[in-house]
């Protein structure tokens, strides 16, 4: 472990000041990535700032803008939250898949986002719900659409001194639902070979897709939207063949590598299958039958 100092601010203003300190400053939420990275010298730090005692970063509640998720809120709080389960079901699915129970009790969704691993399970679910990232920093707060937050593996738009304050997920309309599936070769405690989050908003009278969102994990340098697949769905009457066509189109957005967890070809096939399955789960959750 490198030598570093530690601070635990209790106000947002204090956190902004500390995060803008000289040297290498690391934001600490759940620590399940950061502390391991520090131990193994994959990241260094002069100062670690524990953001869990800042009330804004523990926020979990809805207002006119939608659901506010403080960046330090742990996965298990979201996994068990009634609103998340009712309105953002894909996020509830994914927060129960990150590591073990011990990890979910600590790991934050905001940390999953800022760690910017292409394989992060929660991120695609935030993307399909059109999440906004609220970034705090020395020159004030700014908002970025989460689709524009990721630059590369482990790389985000956060500048020196900036940190993620919260995520805002607009309230989804009636007759909509989301779902997440990932593939791993065992039942739990693994990193996604590929993951797919889907969101559908259906007109129940005509069964027309009013809005579709699909996002992919572990098949590109960053979490990505499958925009071609969304375009296949939107404005059309939902059917099994339309879902098949969208699932094929989703593969166009996947640019996976071959590595120890799976080949590029295998990952593309997983994207096709998981897209179909998650779209069908969305329909089940909305209560629309084909």
């Amino acid at each position: 472990m490198p030598t570093f100092d530690f601070a635990a601010p209790t106000t947002l203003a204090e956190a902004v000041t500390l995060m803008a300190s000289a040297g290498t400053v690391r934001a600490l939420a759940g620590g399940t990535d950061l502390i391991d990275q520090l131990k193994t010298n994959r990241r260094n730090a002069d100062l670690v700032v524990d953001l869990k005692r800042v009330p804004e970063l523990q926020r979990l509640g809805s207002d006119a803008d939608g659901l506010h998720i403080g960046a330090a809120r742990c996965c298990s709080d979201l996994h068990h939250d009634p609103t998340v389960n009712r309105l953002y079901a894909g996020l509830a699915d994914s927060t129960g898949l990150v590591g073990s129970v011990q990890i979910q009790n600590r790991a934050a969704v905001g940390g999953n986002v800022c760690n910017a691993a292409p394989s992060g399970d929660t991120t695609p679910n935030l993307l399909v719900h059109d999440a906004i990232a609220v970034i705090a920093g020395p020159s004030g707060a700014r908002r970025v659409e989460l689709t524009d937050f990721f630059v590369g593996p482990g790389q985000t738009v956060l500048q020196k001194g900036e940190f993620l304050q919260e995520l805002i997920l607009p309230a989804p309309p009636d007759d909509s639902a989301s779902a997440y599936l990932r593939f791993i070769p065992r039942n739990e405690m693994d990193i996604a070979v590929a993951g797919v989050a889907s969101f559908l908003h259906i007109d129940p009278a005509t069964k027309t897709v009013k809005k579709a969102r699909i996002a992919l994990a572990s098949v590109a340098p960053t979490p990505v939207r499958a925009r071609a697949a969304e375009a296949v769905l939107e404005g059309k009457v939902i059917s099994a063949s339309l879902i098949d066509a969208a699932s094929v189109a989703a593969v166009e957005s996947a640019t996976p590598i071959t590595d120890v967890r799976g080949s590029a070809e295998y990952r593309k096939e997983l994207v096709r299958v998981l897209t179909r399955r998650t779209l069908n789960i969305c329909l089940d959750r909305i209560g629309v039958s084909l």
Partner: protein
């Protein structure tokens, strides 16, 4: 080395401890307080041997910095007994032989205690899923699952 005093309620007793900023909670418990029931296995959050309750929820103490625990409550395996008697979970692991070498057992006892406080009568699938963060290289898990089922039945 930046050092600081932290106040932690450990197994019901308030403790003031001088720690280095870079110590983990695991190091603090074992080396600072001599509570060696909590074990270090992988040291990266995979094996669960270091599982403790932090403010009532399971956490890998190897992935908690000591100063994070300031003002919080920690329960280790040494704090699970009730007035010197084995808890129902501990007793069930003894009766079912849910251990062999014993190194992973403290973590399993803490995780099982947390599981049964949330799901008093878990299915076998729920037991295996909720204990997936605790690795045992001896038993093959069957006797551990039986111990959890016994604990649930006798709670």
């Amino acid at each position: 080395m930046p050092t600081r005093h932290i106040n932690v309620n450990v197994n019901g007793t308030p403790r003031e401890i001088l720690v280095d900023s870079t110590w983990t909670l695991l190091e603090t418990l074992r080396d600072g307080l001599g509570l060696t029931g909590t074990k270090e296995g992988c040291s990266n959050g995979n094996c669960g041997a270091c599982t403790v309750l932090l403010d009532g929820k399971t956490a890998c103490s190897c992935l908690v910095l000591a100063p994070e625990a300031d003002g919080r409550e920690v329960t280790t395996v040494e704090g699970l007994d009730t007035g010197g008697r084995l808890s129902s979970v501990q007793d069930a692991f003894v009766k079912e032989g849910g251990l062999q070498c014993g190194f992973c057992t403290p973590g399993f006892l803490v995780s099982t205690t947390f599981l049964l406080s949330n799901i008093p009568d878990p299915t076998e699938d729920e037991i295996r899923l909720n204990l997936a963060g605790n690795l045992c290289r001896c038993t093959g898990y069957d006797k551990i699952v039986k111990a959890v089922q016994r604990a649930a039945a006798t709670k």
